[in-house]
């Protein structure tokens, strides 16, 4: 069992503890922004979720390249685990974005470049998981999934700029002027970013374990 290993168990406990502390800090330790009130608090979850999502997809792309060049299963497992975690966090971005936007922009969805890029990446990864599930020959699926992970990430700047040129009048994202935020907002935000990154690495090691066990079971059947 994964958690029989003491190191993994301690990492899980630390992740849960950090997540709880971070949530308490967001609720009680951060200042209320006058014109946004409680809606602004979601920003401490929304932006770190987006960071982890993009980080996961970036690692999935790197794993894709490495898998295609080395043909080592380890990289396929890392790529799949990152794709799963990335999609989970991208879903959180797509849920928290409209929650924040409804009171601030007056409607849940605006074709804002970052949010749109997230949506398109999310949809591309829906295709990625369909390929993994219904693709047929497993060895071929590994290669095609690696190619999808590569082109999905290479497409990110293209999607971002196309949406930005398409609707330049849109209000910009709150993340844009992060360096101009007061310390009371910036430090909790950076703490949240660290906590989410830590949770990502804990989740990644667990998913890698689960996927490799599943692979071994499938190979033995």
């Amino acid at each position: 069992m994964f958690y029989e290993n003491k190191k993994n168990l301690y990492l899980l406990i630390v992740a849960i503890f950090l997540f709880a502390l971070n949530s308490l800090n967001i609720f009680y330790g951060t200042p209320m922004v006058p014109d946004q009130h409680w809606a602004q608090k979601i920003f401490y979850l929304h932006v770190p979720s987006a960071w982890v999502g993009f980080l996961s997809y970036f690692i999935a792309m790197i794993s894709g390249f490495t898998f295609l060049s080395t043909k080592k299963d380890k990289w396929d497992i890392i790529g799949t685990a990152c794709a799963e975690i990335g999609t989970l966090f991208m879903s959180l971005v797509l849920i928290t974005g409209p929650i924040w936007a409804t009171p601030i922009w007056g409607k849940p969805w605006i074709w804002e470049p970052r949010l749109t890029t997230t949506l398109i990446l999310f949809l591309t990864y829906v295709g990625y998981f369909m390929m993994r599930s219904f693709g047929g020959n497993i060895e071929r699926v590994k290669k095609t999934s690696a190619v999808i992970a590569i082109i999905a990430f290479l497409n990110v700047p293209i999607i971002f700029f196309s949406v930005q040129f398409w609707s330049p009048e849109l209000q910009s994202h709150p993340q844009v002027e992060m360096n101009q935020q007061p310390t009371g907002i910036l430090i909790p935000f950076l703490i949240s970013l660290f906590v989410f990154s830590f949770i990502f690495f804990v989740m990644l090691s667990y998913r890698k374990y689960v996927i490799s066990i599943n692979k071994n079971l499938t190979n033995n059947v």
Binding site: I120, G127, F161, V163
Partner: protein, 221 residues
Amino acid sequence: MDLLKLINKELRAEILNKEIIITMLSFGLSIIVIISFTSNLSKQIIEAYAPGLFWLMILFVTVLGVHRSYAYEKEFNAIDLILSAPIDRGLIFIAKALSGFIFITLMQALIVFPYFIFLSIDIDVNFFPLILSTLLINLTLMFVSNLISGISMRARISEILFPVLLFPLISPLIIAATNITNSIINQAPYIEWQVWIYLLISILIVFGLSGYALFDFILEE
């Protein structure tokens, strides 16, 4: 030389069967009829939406045509014969994309008149930039769709996976295509829409190079 032989093979297969062009043309005409029935709106509204609807129709037609071109290879196991030939596999991708470019351009030349007649659209434009930009859009469209079709070709549910993967990845191209055609129809100066041409060229380079480099991995057993 290998590239020319491969393009020649695609063209000869199409001249013998006429499957792709006829399929694309009849499907395109059906879409125009459906658009006419569902958009019984004022002339101004139709003219405003005409470029977007046109590229939407081309996208659907492309899905059908490109999928057919790969399904044909699969049906007769022709792809294995091509793979056994001593040629660069990246060239197979380029040959498929270039022959697809010829088919879609031919199909567009035939369908553009029924499109304007059925939807009662009057346009008074400089055809030179319209034709040049359409050729660039077609070329980019074919590079992207052939890469994705190659990825999904051997999957168990390739006919579903292809559009599911293609549509999110191709959205920047559709945004660019619609904006370019709209700008030309509205006689906007080139400086206002040159950004979209640069975006198209970026997509062409990214997907062209990715396809050329990755097609070997996509096709290998």
